[in-house]
């Protein structure tokens, strides 16, 4: 719509500005720093023009015009603060307030309410409306969003959010006229993974953060920038805290990553850190009981256990969370490396380890998240994308809404709120990917190494559907996404090789969604020390008998190998757990329990799937007997008498690692031998978006949602 070629001139409050034809007046006033009051307008939503707060005077128009819905034209002369403009704005304000309750003192929005702010600027001191105010009915929208609909000013931002951003209409305007209200009509909970954003969108206190309700006045809160630790997207958040307690989390606008949105788990997940089963004191098993001890004692005991292991570290297993800061990951890997421990892994949800070389191809995406918006053809393989990475799924939806083709190949249906091109749902879906590859090779007449040609001879000929996907992918701006579903599939290696070769053949972009929030960070040490070929994988580690098993930041529920891990914990001679939480397995089997901080209580950096390195800093006053995770790890080094890298040295390594991944444009080019079998966990697991890490699992608001309850 916006034409960048022909610049035009618009005069706002006596100052001439260059403008773009087709631009709405409010975009121009925002750009040029002229504030025009508004409620319904939001840059990420369609124009509604219904609140009438942004009325301004435009010369030669016989009435005031809404800046949000008035396209600029050359020579337009606008007055935003003239008498007619002010009168129109004040009139709207008076109308908005006649039925709005005067309950600001008990309203959570107080202090950050757009209506309250503008009422001070544009409102009158007393009301001429001396008639009974109207009240409206409240709906129960579920555990995340509270409603006080009498405060609603019908701006419909939340309704437009549902249709345009979430892609599902959960809220609507019910009824008409003065008695109309925002409702789900028959009290349905709002179930979308991004639903909490309506709290931020609501300009008044009609939709509020339910767990946060009535807890604080917003002006008492301190604000800290941080990164959400619940998926690999690296969503930017603002942590609002009081007395070192997190009270709520809101989005931090980052146009390159999450724009103004965050997923519900980014917003409400933190509740899990206040769970009653936090590990408080270090503990040592004495006879059959766990006794509380000092940190130093627990650390000393752990070091002794490591030292007493025979065979130069070969009998020690280390299982690490993929959600830790890169610094922690690096120190842990380096610690093992120095001690010759080969049994270390962080890939809790990877099922198929049959291909050794996979550690040299670190899953990531080779374009930026914001590039997804403009992709024209996308193939999603083995993913519940909305649950795995809600923000990335939103970008895919944006591209779909602007007309791009989205194709899906998976073992089961997932719900998407956009038009799907080819949708292949099949038990034998891996074969379908091969058939798409075959179609692509036929199409591009690419010369292939014999290995691939021979393999393709063994699979079925492509159908029209497979050909359609291949044709689509061979166009410009195409993308292949490999989801967590594929990663956790028993044929992951073959899926991955198909996808990589398909990506090379069709020259598409490639996005591999990784588990946890910082799996790339976890891979850095192995990558730059070229130690990956010698290390063992998760499934190998849990099948071994260890003298000592160290678990760092994980619990059995975090992995798809849950039953096997529990067996491994039982069978090991010594079990040391570094954990923020206690659970029944630790109580039964751990010999040493060392409490650690969660992400929300720590400092460090994480690398998201587009290789963006972001730091987070949750400075919190710690008492004298508390240690940061880094301090704990350093004391392990000390105990073992080995040298650790300094923080700045680690940072250099991280930078080097990122560059190594980014520069290696190479993709997997061979199809693995399918006769090699790999150890498989005992049961299939369903991906539950509120059960992916130990913090989310303990977030009460999230566990009370439909998704949360479905895992019970």
């Amino acid at each position: 719509m916006t034409d960048t070629k022909n610049k035009i001139t618009v005069t706002i409050d006596g100052i001439e500005h260059d403008a773009l034809p087709g631009q709405m007046l409010i975009e121009l006033t925002d750009q040029t720093g002229t504030y025009v009051p508004r409620f319904c307008y939001h840059e990420k939503l369609s124009i509604a023009a219904n609140c009438r707060m942004c009325l301004v005077e435009v010369e030669n128009s016989n009435s005031a015009l809404p800046a949000c819905a008035t396209p600029v034209s050359d020579g337009m002369i606008v007055h935003t603060k003239s008498k007619p403009a002010k009168t129109a704005q004040e009139s709207t304000m008076e109308f908005l307030l006649i039925n709005h309750p005067l309950d600001c003192p008990i309203c959570d929005q107080g202090g950050e309410c757009e209506l309250q702010d503008l009422a001070y600027a544009y409102g009158k001191n007393d009301s001429r409306f001396d008639i009974q105010k109207q009240t409206k009915k409240n709906d129960d929208l579920g555990p995340l969003v509270s409603t006080d609909m009498t405060r609603c000013i019908m701006c419909t931002r939340c309704v437009r959010f549902g249709t345009e951003i979430a892609g599902i209409q959960e809220l609507g305007t019910i009824g008409r006229g003065e008695s109309s209200n925002i409702s789900t009509y028959v009290s349905k909970t709002v179930d979308h993974e991004l639903s909490g954003n309506i709290i931020d969108l609501c300009p008044v206190g009609a939709l509020n953060n339910k767990p946060y309700r009535y807890t604080d006045r917003t002006w008492e809160l301190d604000q800290i920038e941080s990164i959400s630790p619940h998926d690999c997207v690296g969503t930017n958040i603002m942590i609002h805290k009081k007395n070192d307690i997190i009270r709520r989390i809101v989005p931090k606008n980052n146009p390159d990553i999450n724009e103004t949105w965050i997923a519900d788990r980014d917003r409400f997940g933190f509740d899990g850190i206040y769970s009653e089963d936090r590990a408080i004191s270090p503990q040592l098993r004495v006879n059959s009981d766990l006794d509380n001890v000092k940190v130093a004692d627990a650390m000393d005991r752990s070091v002794d256990m490591i030292k007493s292991c025979s065979n130069n570290g070969q009998s020690i297993g280390v299982l690490v969370s993929p959600n830790l800061s890169t610094e922690e990951q690096y120190l842990l890997s380096d610690f093992c490396h120095q001690l010759g421990i080969k049994a270390i892994d962080y890939r809790l949800r990877q099922r198929d380890f049959s291909e050794k070389s996979d550690r040299s191809f670190i899953p990531h995406m080779n374009i930026n998240l914001s590039d997804i918006d403009s992709m024209k053809n996308t193939l999603i393989l083995g993913s519940d994308l909305r649950k795995e990475t809600p923000i990335l799924a939103h970008r895919i939806k944006k591209s779909a809404d602007s007309g791009s083709s989205i194709h899906i190949i998976n073992s089961h249906e997932s719900e998407y709120h956009f038009q799907i091109g080819q949708n292949i749902i099949n038990d034998d879906w891996v074969n379908d990917i091969g058939r798409v590859l075959k179609a692509a090779i036929n199409l591009t007449k690419n010369h292939l190494p014999n290995n691939i040609a021979d393999h393709l001879d063994t699979i079925d000929e492509p159908s029209v559907k497979h050909e359609a996907i291949a044709v689509s992918l061979c166009q410009s701006k195409s993308l292949i996404i490999i989801g967590i579903g594929a990663y956790s599939d028993s044929q992951y290696q073959i899926i991955r090789s198909y996808a990589h070769i398909l990506s090379s053949v069709c020259q598409t972009n490639l996005c591999e969604i990784s588990e946890g929030s910082n799996m790339i960070g976890a891979s850095i040490h192995g990558l730059i020390n070229e130690s990956t070929d010698q290390t063992l994988n998760f499934s190998e580690i849990i099948q071994m008998n260890h003298d000592l098993l160290i678990m760092y930041g994980i619990e059995p529920n975090d992995t798809i190998y849950q039953a096997e891990l529990i067996e491994c914990m039982k069978s090991t001679n010594n079990l040391v757990v570094f954990t923020p939480y206690i659970n029944e397995y630790f109580n039964q089997h751990a010999d040493v329990i060392i409490p650690i901080k969660t992400h929300y209580e720590g400092t460090g950096s994480m690398i998201n799937l587009e290789l963006r390195n972001q730091s987070f800093n949750h400075i919190q006053s710690m008492s004298a007997d508390e240690f940061s995770n880094i301090e704990l790890l350093m004391s392990m080094y000390q105990g073992m008498g080995i040298q650790s890298l300094s923080v700045s040295e680690i940072n250099d390594c991280i930078q080097k690692g990122i560059e190594t991944i980014a520069i290696t444009a190479e993709k997997i080019s061979e199809i693995p031998d399918t006769t090699l079998t790999t150890f498989l966990p005992k049961k299939e697991t369903i991906f539950n978006m509120y059960n992916t890490d130990n913090v989310l699992r303990r977030s009460k608001p999230l566990q009370n949602t439909k998704e949360g309850l479905s895992s019970k």
Binding site: G172, S183, Y185, V186
Partner: protein, 164 residues
């Protein structure tokens, strides 16, 4: 869910669906709600609205929005026969208020209510029914009756109440 809809209702819904381009089935919501309300003798229920959403393949909220916006749809239980007395300006000038009063007394209900036997719903009619030259007028089960007076109203209502 579709079993809540009778074959006649589905036929009527298909009739509406056929009037609109592919993918524009939302346009059939209004026609479908007329059909469903008719099937249910005068009002809509959540279940029926959900059935319409399901049959048309549109989000339920879209059906609720429409059902609660248009005055011809009743989302609360209402009597089987619907009487609307126009009281807009042309009818008011020709004595509609006295007629409405008479009907309220005769049926023992206020406008907006239904008789306890569920037979008659006296609809609150604020819109002009576009029969101003035949004022005062009323609409009974969608049939226009113009130039009414107390006598005519009595005849019509007596006939309705004697019907099943």
């Amino acid at each position: 869910m579709n079993e809540l809809l009778t074959p006649e209702t589905k036929k009527e819904m298909d009739h509406w669906l056929n009037k609109f381009p592919k993918g524009k089935q939302r346009s059939a919501i209004i026609g479908s709600l007329h059909a469903v309300q008719h099937q249910n003798e005068g009002f809509l229920t959540s279940e029926l609205m959900d059935a319409v959403a399901n049959y048309l393949d549109v989000p339920k909220i879209q059906v609720y929005e429409v059902a609660t916006f248009y005055s011809m749809f009743q989302t609360k239980p209402a009597g089987k026969h619907e009487i609307s007395v126009c009281t807009n300006i042309s009818c008011m000038l020709r004595g509609s208020d006295a007629i409405l009063n008479h009907i309220e007394h005769k049926l023992g209900i206020n406008v907006g209510e239904s008789t306890s036997d569920g037979k008659i719903f006296l609809k609150e009619e604020e819109e002009c029914l576009a029969a101003c030259t035949g004022a005062p007028m009323m609409m009974v089960d969608h049939v226009y009756i113009e130039n009414i007076d107390i006598k005519k109203v009595d005849e019509v209502i007596d006939k309705l109440t004697s019907k099943s």
